[in-house]
């Protein structure tokens, strides 16, 4: 048996109660291995997922479900120096990080 987190989907249900992800451009800060990312990316139009830890970004890229790969861009980056230019996001998620 491997470890699992939030297998009953309580976290997923609550974040969907608070935010409508349908068709949204989402910036996730501190995406880690992508566990939270998979829970909403299906509804989003586009996701940029950042984490300062390159190893975690590599793990997230490896674990990304095939159906979500075209929507999600993973980057090893620190939000404090991240430049989106004129591209603005509808939603940002601070995922267990600040």
């Amino acid at each position: 048996m491997d470890f699992s987190v939030d297998r009953d989907g309580v976290e997923t249900a609550l974040i969907h109660d608070l935010v409508n992800f349908d068709g949204m451009r989402v910036l996730e800060v501190g995406c880690g291995d992508g566990r939270l990312t998979w829970s909403y990316a299906g509804e989003a139009a586009e996701v940029v997922a950042l984490d300062v830890n390159e190893r975690k970004i590599e793990a997230a890229i490896d674990a990304c479900p095939a159906g979500l790969r075209s929507k999600i861009t993973f980057q090893a980056a620190d939000i404090s120096s991240y430049d989106t230019g004129d591209d603005r996001f509808d939603t940002a998620i601070l995922s267990y990080s600040l």
Binding site: S4, V5, L18, L27, I79, T91
Partner: protein
């Protein structure tokens, strides 16, 4: 530029920030097996809790500056399920969490898990807050 100011710049005028953060409380350790829940105790997370309090204060400060306003808030318990103490320790080490628990507690967990039919459960309280971006910080308004 700090993280929250950068996020403010990255969001559209009426964008939403969703903050998902643990509560500044110790996580609980349990073993589930044979239809029973064994509550073993808690992890000493004093240092992590101080960091969470500091992050909350930072969030309060950007609200005072007028960058964001709180819209809604919710709470839940995030449950991690592990087949062994070693699995939990490896996961937390990878995540960079501090793991401070009484040796007796870990021994008890190992004994209860020895049958292979039980699982270790870490129960962590989480707060989720949605905040609406405000167009202009207070000190920039006419």
């Amino acid at each position: 530029m700090d993280a929250l100011s950068r996020i403010h710049k990255c969001l559209k005028a009426d964008g939403v920030l969703l903050d998902v953060h643990p509560q500044p409380e110790n996580s609980q350790i349990e073993v589930w097996g044979d239809g029973l829940v064994h509550r073993l105790g808690e992890i000493d997370q004093r240092e992590d809790n101080e960091e969470i309090e500091a992050a909350r204060e930072h969030l309060r400060s950007v609200r005072r500056e007028g960058l964001f306003v709180t819209e809604e808030r919710g709470f839940f318990e995030l449950l991690e399920h592990h087949p062994s103490v070693e699995s939990w320790q490896n996961r937390w080490e990878e995540e960079g969490y501090r793991l401070v628990a009484e040796p007796d507690l870990l021994d008890t967990a190992n004994a209860l898990l020895a049958s292979g039919e039980a699982e270790l459960v870490i129960r962590e309280p989480i707060r989720v807050t949605s905040l609406r971006r405000l167009a202009e910080p207070r000190n920039n308004r006419p």
